[in-house]
Symmetry: C2
Subunit: 237 residues, 2 copies
């Protein structure tokens, strides 16, 4: 619906369709970022872990390599990681979303930014408190402008799901204004053994971002570990 016509899309599709070989994970020192780094690295991607300081980035890379010596993981300062990688994933806490984007903006031009930000506002993390722009993802796109394709994903995947090797019962909602960019992200989701869905334009990120507080409430009220969501339905035949 928000996809532009094929002719308008051709240039950005060119960028998007370039094969993704390297992935920068900003906030790769966190639980979810670390889990994604491990899974994508095992799937054959070159991983650049970004952090606010080179030291912290290197320490996170070393920690992963100590556990899995065969991975291709290096540690960097955030801007350096974003500049060198084909695609960039933002997994920092909501409070650091815009300040991190400000630092790395020059490295994002012409790339897809996968925004994993969930706008949780402590201490009431089980209560939906969406930002004024409607979602963290739209806030990121507004800040970055047209030169970057923001795609929102992974809000409802608990970090523990990525640390375990058994099948993960949690789907990934993928929102973004261009189908080609969503497709690139869907292929990265498949690469880590998850199931992704075209969930509509970027404003629909509000649903996935709000759902995280719902899952936290469900965990609490029903004494569940790592509640997730799975999409059901029958294919039209």
């Amino acid at each position: 619906m928000s996809d532009q016509s094929m002719s308008d899309q051709s240039m950005s599709d060119q960028i998007i369709a370039n094969q993704v070989r390297s992935i920068a994970i900003l906030g790769g020192t966190g639980d979810l970022g670390g889990g994604l780094a491990r899974q994508w690295s095992r799937a054959g991607y070159k991983i650049l872990i970004g952090s606010r300081t080179l030291e912290k980035g290197k320490a996170a890379a070393h920690a992963l390599l100590a556990e899995f010596p065969d991975l291709s993981v290096t540690g960097h300062e955030n801007l350096d990681a974003a500049t060198q990688a084909d695609i960039v994933v933002l997994t920092v806490p909501f409070a650091h979303q815009l300040s991190t984007l400000e630092t790395v903006k020059p490295g994002l031009l012409g790339k897809i930014l996968i925004d994993v930000t969930v706008p949780l506002v402590p201490p009431k993390v089980g209560t939906v408190q969406l930002p004024e722009k409607g979602s963290a993802a739209v806030q990121a796109q507004d800040f970055l402008g047209d030169g970057v394709q923001v795609v929102s994903a992974f809000q409802n995947v608990g970090a523990q799901h990525l640390r375990e090797d058994h099948a993960i019962a949690c789907d990934v909602l993928v929102t973004g204004d261009k189908r080609a960019a969503r497709n690139t992200v869907l292929s990265l989701i498949e690469a880590v053994g998850l199931r992704g869905w075209h969930a509509g334009p970027l404003v629909n990120a509000a649903a996935a971002e709000a759902m995280t507080s719902v899952l936290i409430s469900i965990n609490r009220h029903h004494k569940i570990d790592g509640a997730g969501i799975v999409i059901t339905g029958e294919s039209k035949t």
Copy 2:
């Protein structure tokens, strides 16, 4: 979290804990309302179908009785249905939510209102467009005031799921500020063979309401009929 202390709750719990025997379904002439009427009636509840006119309410009741003669279903004007029933379910389109509540407000005092409203804004129903108050449910609670307990539920259940008799793979997120009211609604959800979840305070209705547009987008992009969500996770032991 938003639950009040036990002593504060005792009076409203008294109201809430009264056994529900009769259910008013405002907008019971629609697909979802009709499906709920059929399922709850089969589960033994007395159903009062409400509509803007007595004639339309009666016609909807007659149509259901023609198909299932053993059901306990009567047709009413909305205010009459709300006044007579133990609990009231609102299943009208978003555009008619507040005008319907205005009509029935005197009949709701001391009762639970189950708000099923999804704030879809045609023609872009696959695009999340939450109302200014954050959700249709909060808009209803603000309009009705403290004398009515609004609980939000059923936003993500396709009407077709309630018409079919096979097991329904779609969970129900239940949000509301009082646990006792949510529990009453959870028992009604179980009565129609669905699985319900305590999904947090009423503001969390934003997640379920937004999710409906996501499911519409998924239906469209993945050529699925009646996409729904199921909550996954492991009980703590």
